[in-house]
């Protein structure tokens, strides 16, 4: 277990800035502020440069001999490939509007976590290497030379950005530090500086089809296990299709949800929903991962991992794809998928077989979000719901960064929430919807060793949860993201004890009345339903 200070300590945040220029201040690596580096065998498997055993606390990072050339060549090539990168390097006016929008700055107070300064870490090299005037003026003009300390600083701060894009929303030019972080991480890959928590899942996903490295038979076992639980709770045996050809729909969701509490209850919710509808749907073990840690690695890796979705849809001969609750998965699907691996001409625009609604929003990718699908079902009164079964929950809703600022999926999950539970309260408006705060563990930073920084970054979210807990007695934070389901429980325990975390479709699963089910006495977590506390099985 990582050790970290109690909330009373951690909250002592100082937003003042040092007198010395940021270029002259060095932040030491210490346990809790960095993630462990990529392991050599993983780098080798992925064909990435400079595999070695090293630690950020080492003096010598064992960079390749010509590392400066490698980095600058990559820099040049990225500037040629991305207009975003070039424009963002050039037009920042350093107005500081983005400065206090980043959760890591709010919760930590380190000025280098102000998005503008995070970007300056890269911009200073851009100036120092590509602008003659800045080279002459040096530090005064924010230019510096590429030295080993710069690489170290990049590694620290570009793995302290969760690519949440909150800064981009407030920037008058839309400068997106997430985009800059992606570029910086690509530069760091050139010299073999990356983190294992991203690369190992990416490697797993490549071979086994999911981040956790669950092999097909084990996946099936876990699914059966969840079906056993559903049978215990509802009296109905569900027999989901897996890798079945000829179904109408392929369903893909993050693998985290089949494996860990509380994601498994959301998984059970999906199974119950599909059973209730009699949906002609199959799951896949080859494409058993919705998430895509390639997004946090490189455009190539992202494309490679994402490619399985269309591959599998084609092989199984489905008409369209339904996607589960996940944050960054949906940024990839909405903004990258069709560009990288489409057009998916062999699929059709999703049409709900139950309501007949055609989903034009997905007419290009042919991939529909489960929240859109379920909202439409509820609107058309196709679900038999008993919201009182969620009466033990007083809920609020956390918008995940990616569906909020990389898609705009804001209303659909709320509509579902309001229909499947009777007690729902919003957090303060500066912390939800497009202004939502990160869970502190996005972009591959949801690892154990990084917990202290995650908790710091989780302050804005945690504090907003605490606010509704104290005011309305909220005890459940619902979300539509598998990473959230892993990161928010410790965050709530720390900043807002007493609040649990659930998926939206867990609550849907609780509320749905299956045909011929037995009288339920517990919810999907096997906690007694309201009024059933004394009831025996």
């Amino acid at each position: 277990m990582a050790k970290y200070p109690p909330p009373e300590e951690l909250i002592k945040i100082n937003y003042s800035t040092p007198v010395k220029s940021w270029m002259d201040t060095k932040t030491p690596f210490k346990p809790g502020n960095f993630s462990y580096p990529g392991k050599p065998d993983i780098l080798k498997y992925l064909g990435m440069p400079n595999p070695r055993v090293w630690s950020p606390t080492d003096d010598d990072w064992q960079l390749p001999p010509d590392w400066q050339r490698l980095v600058m060549e990559k820099f040049r090539s990225l500037l040629k490939k991305y207009r975003s990168f070039k424009v963002f390097m050039d037009i920042c006016v350093r107005c500081g509007a983005c400065a206090d929008k980043c959760h890591f700055f709010i919760g930590g107070g380190d000025p280098k976590n102000m998005p503008v300064l995070r970007a300056e870490l890269l911009r200073s090299i851009y100036r120092g290497e590509f602008s003659a005037a800045a080279k002459v003026l040096g530090k005064l003009a924010g230019a510096r030379k590429l030295e080993e300390d710069v690489i170290k600083e990049w590694f620290l701060y570009f793995y302290q950005c969760t690519e949440c894009r909150r800064c981009s929303l407030f920037c008058p030019y839309g400068i997106d530090t997430a985009e800059i972080t992606m570029m910086a991480r690509e530069l760091l890959h050139e010299v073999g500086c990356n983190i294992n928590w991203i690369l190992e899942p990416a490697a797993n996903c490549n071979r086994t089809g999911n981040h956790l490295g669950i092999q097909p038979h084990a996946y099936k076992d876990m699914m059966d296990f969840l079906c056993d639980d559903i049978e215990d709770i509802t009296g109905k045996r569900i027999r989901p299709n897996v890798n079945k050809k000829g179904c109408e729909i392929l369903f893909i969701t993050p693998s985290g949800d089949i494996f860990a509490d509380p994601g498994i209850y959301t998984y059970m919710g999906y199974l119950i929903l599909f059973e209730h509808l009699g949906l002609d749907v199959t799951w896949s073990t080859y494409a058993s991962e919705g998430g895509n840690f390639g997004l946090f690695t490189s455009d190539k890796m992202m494309k490679k991992i994402n490619g399985k979705m269309y591959n599998e849809a084609k092989r199984l001969g489905v008409k369209w794809i339904l996607g589960g609750e996940c944050g960054h998965m949906w940024r990839v699907i909405n903004q990258y998928m069709s560009t990288m691996n489409g057009p998916a001409d062999f699929l059709e625009t999703p049409v709900s077989p139950i309501t007949g609604t055609k989903f034009d929003a997905a007419s290009g990718t042919k991939m529909l979000h489960i929240a859109e699908f379920t909202a439409d079902l509820i609107k058309n009164k196709k679900l038999n719901l008993d919201p009182s079964r969620n009466d033990n929950f007083i809920s609020t809703f956390h918008d995940s960064c990616n569906p909020a600022r990389g898609m705009g999926l804001l209303e659909e999950p709320r509509y579902i929430m309001k229909n499947v539970c009777r007690q729902f309260y919003e957090m303060p408006e500066n912390t939800i919807r497009e202004q939502t705060f990160c869970c502190g563990g996005g972009a591959g930073l949801n690892n154990e060793e990084f917990t202290e920084t995650r908790l710091r970054g989780g302050l804005p979210r945690g504090n907003a949860v605490k606010y509704v807990r104290d005011r309305h007695g909220v005890n459940n934070l619902a979300c539509i993201c598998a990473i959230d389901r892993a990161t928010l429980p410790p965050l709530c325990d720390y900043w807002a004890p007493g609040v649990g975390v659930s998926g939206v479709h867990e609550l849907v699963g609780n509320a749905i009345i299956l045909d011929g089910e037995k009288k339920r006495t517990t919810d999907l977590r096997q906690n007694p339903l309201p009024g059933m506390e004394d009831e025996e099985e």
Partner: protein, 333 residues
Amino acid sequence: MAAFYSFLAVLALIVIPWLGVGMGMSALFGIALPYIAIIIFMVGFTMRIVDWAKSPVPFCIPTTGGQQKSLPWIKWSPWDNPVDKKGVFMRMVLEVLCFRSLFRNTSVKLQQDGPKVGYSSEKSLWLFSLIFHYCFLLILVRHLRFFLMPIPGAVGIAEFLDSILQIGLPVMYQSDALIMVGLLFLLARRVFDGKVRYITLMQDYFPLFLLLGIVLTGVWMRYVVKVDVIAVKELTMSIVTLRPHMPTAPIDPSVYAHLTLVCALFIYFPFSKLMHMGGIFLSPTRVLPNMSRRAQWVNPWNDPAVKAHSYEAYEDDFREKMIEAGLPVDKKA
């Protein structure tokens, strides 16, 4: 230090022409420099824009600021989350004319007991920035009086509106005072707000001092020495009609200082952050519609050689186990 150097640079840009004109170099500052400045500005500005515009936009990455277009009964935010050119146009109109994103600005307050993190609306940057930019625009329009013959009606309207308060003689333009207020506020936050001071570089102070210098010399000319406007117009018209000559009536040296500062602004513009003027129209997170799930967005450098690990390879790896678990396989063992 950075502020001091920027200040010195601007001071030099005032003193040099002032002295230079005294030494008989008025043609250099009155004719040669303006031509050089205009050419550098036009060529530089165009080259920057072309350079940006030529670089590819591989992915459709708008930052969505509201509800997506979804089911017909869900209220959509067409301007914060546009799906087509029309929506993007509205989004950009709001950004460029109203500084929409800056309008959202908040400021964090941390209360130790509780603890409580609060976000208060913080519109001062938006307000003063807007004041500065609009005054700058207005002043620019008013200056057309010196470069056009006959003077377009719009210029007259701008002058009329700007002097509607009828203060002083010659009547005071409100924009002259307001632009000072705007610039001084922007400068003050760079000096007094710790966070902003920390990120501020020389190239952030310089344009503020430069613009202040332009305004101050302008005010000096108009309200203090009351320069010979006819003579100035003779000079400016000779420049735009490409028949440059020095006017016969003498011109106060402050005019040359003002002109030199403006030329410095023009020369500096294409190489600086002032290019945000063009960049905002090329910023992918703002000018792209959220359409990549509806239709195909093409990446010109998409590499078809990058392929997913194939199903066949996957099945080869796990076939025995899949059969044992009762999962269907394509090839029997």
